[in-house]
């Protein structure tokens, strides 16, 4: 009987937190707006903390992933005498899958954890309740700019990741592996479709951006107001966001490229 009750409790808690986070998202986005210039200033501030601070790690990862893809693709393709197809292999892999997913995982680790820790700390030091007491809505002032900044930064970061990775793959292919630069690009251009590959990749990145910041904000906002609570919430934020990215990626791929 106790076992059964435990299962029930977990189910209820899960559903509650799901509903709570959906409500949180809804209320943060629909809270009455401030003066536009102030909203914009707060958004820019968050774009800096979330977006600009993640650029370096995203570019570095893109650099190495592009180079590794070129090397690994080369060893497989050379077995079939089709090394000219390296360009299309690298670009399709990056644009459709690796770009949004890896940028998303890095974003969850770099920006998502920072958002959760910051909000958790604000809660522990009662800054959020102080805002509320001054008649300032923390949902609109603290959560909304972070959600919007995540939504905007993710596609930007993913495209930077893709561009850097493709360029580094190009450098490795032409300089190290001796593939002709012209056939590298021509082969790529022949298969890569702007609407189907690039735009779908951007849509994925936008969805991941929303989900990652949503999870981060919810975990931070509901963190237990003490050191241990912040600690646990930050870890959970990264774990849940990363798993959601991977699961959603499968669903989105099935919808976009499934037929």
């Amino acid at each position: 009987m106790e076992q059964l009750a435990r299962i029930g409790r977990t189910g209820i808690a899960f559903t509650q937190s799901l509903g709570q986070s959906a409500l949180l998202l809804w209320m943060a986005l629909t809270a009455p707006p401030d003066r536009l210039s102030r909203e914009f200033r707060r958004l820019v501030q968050q774009l800096y903390f979330i977006g600009v601070n993640s650029v370096l790690i995203v570019m570095l990862s893109g650099l190495f992933i592009g180079m590794v893809l070129a090397l690994q693709g080369y060893t497989v393709l050379s077995r079939f005498g089709a090394v000219e197809a390296l360009g299309q292999l690298v670009s399709l892999t990056l644009l459709r899958e690796l770009g949004p997913v890896v940028a998303g995982l890095l974003f969850a680790g770099r920006a998502g954890s920072a958002i959760t820790a910051e909000l958790g700390f604000m809660k522990a030091t009662e800054q959020l309740s102080a805002l509320e007491m001054m008649g300032v809505d923390p949902l609109a002032h603290v959560l909304r700019p972070r959600l919007l900044a995540g939504l905007i930064s993710m596609p930007v970061l993913a495209q930077i990741f893709n561009a850097v990775a493709i360029l580094s793959a190009w450098v490795v292919s032409t300089e190290l592996l001796g593939i002709d630069s012209g056939s590298f690009w021509a082969n790529m251009q022949q298969v890569v479709d702007f609407r189907e590959d690039v735009v779908n990749g951007i849509i994925k990145a936008i969805v991941f951006g929303i989900v990652i910041t949503w999870v981060a904000v919810h975990e931070g906002y509901t963190a237990a107001p003490n050191t241990e609570g912040i600690n646990r919430s930050t870890t959970r934020s990264v774990v849940i966001a990363s798993l959601s990215v991977l699961a959603l990626d499968f669903i989105l791929t099935a919808l976009m490229f499934g037929d």
Binding site: R41, V44, Q45, L47, Y48, G51, V52, V55, S91, L95, S153, P155, V156, L157, Q159, I160, N162, A163, V164, I166, W185, M188, Q189, Q190, V191, V192, D193, F194, R195, E196, D197, V198, I202
Partner: protein
């Protein structure tokens, strides 16, 4: 000063994002732009389209002039109907042109090659190319080769 630095670096981030997107659009994906705007459709019936897919190239003298829109079976004639979209500026295909399904390289992808005819009238929207030649099937060719060699002995 602090605020100014933040604004400048966010501006740079947005610029970098746009630069990346422009690079992806122009250098990486040449396809998907301007290929579906304008153009007219012609059809051709083949007995075998094995390996031909949607969006395959349609070429004339080695130059891509359009792409395959759809492939479907017409039960009445037991043939495959291939609809092709030809670019608008290609207005010189004579009505007796022929369409052949060819392979790029030995194991490459299939495409439709259009060969010129001699009529003065040109193909227009909805026209049919009557003279067609189906896919060469690699296995069939090898099979024939083997029987020919065997017959000679």
């Amino acid at each position: 000063m602090q605020q100014r630095f933040i604004e400048i670096s966010v501006g740079l981030l947005m610029l970098a994002g746009m630069a990346a997107l422009t690079f992806l659009a122009l250098q990486v994906s040449a396809r998907g732009f301007g290929q579906n705007k304008g153009g007219y459709e012609v059809v051709a019936y083949f007995t075998n389209t094995s390996g031909l897919t949607d969006k395959a190239k349609v070429s004339f003298a080695g130059v891509t002039i359009g792409q395959v829109q759809s492939i479907e079976i017409v039960p009445a004639s037991m043939k495959a109907k291939v609809s092709m979209k030809i670019n608008k500026d290609v207005d010189y295909l004579s009505t007796d042109s022929s369409a052949v399904i060819q392979t790029a390289g030995v194991l490459g992808e299939k495409y439709v090659a259009i060969y010129p005819g001699s009529e003065d009238d040109v193909l227009t929207a909805g026209a049919e190319i009557y003279d067609t030649q189906s896919s060469m099937i690699f296995e069939d060719m090898i099979g024939k080769l083997v029987t020919n060699l065997a017959a000679k002995d």
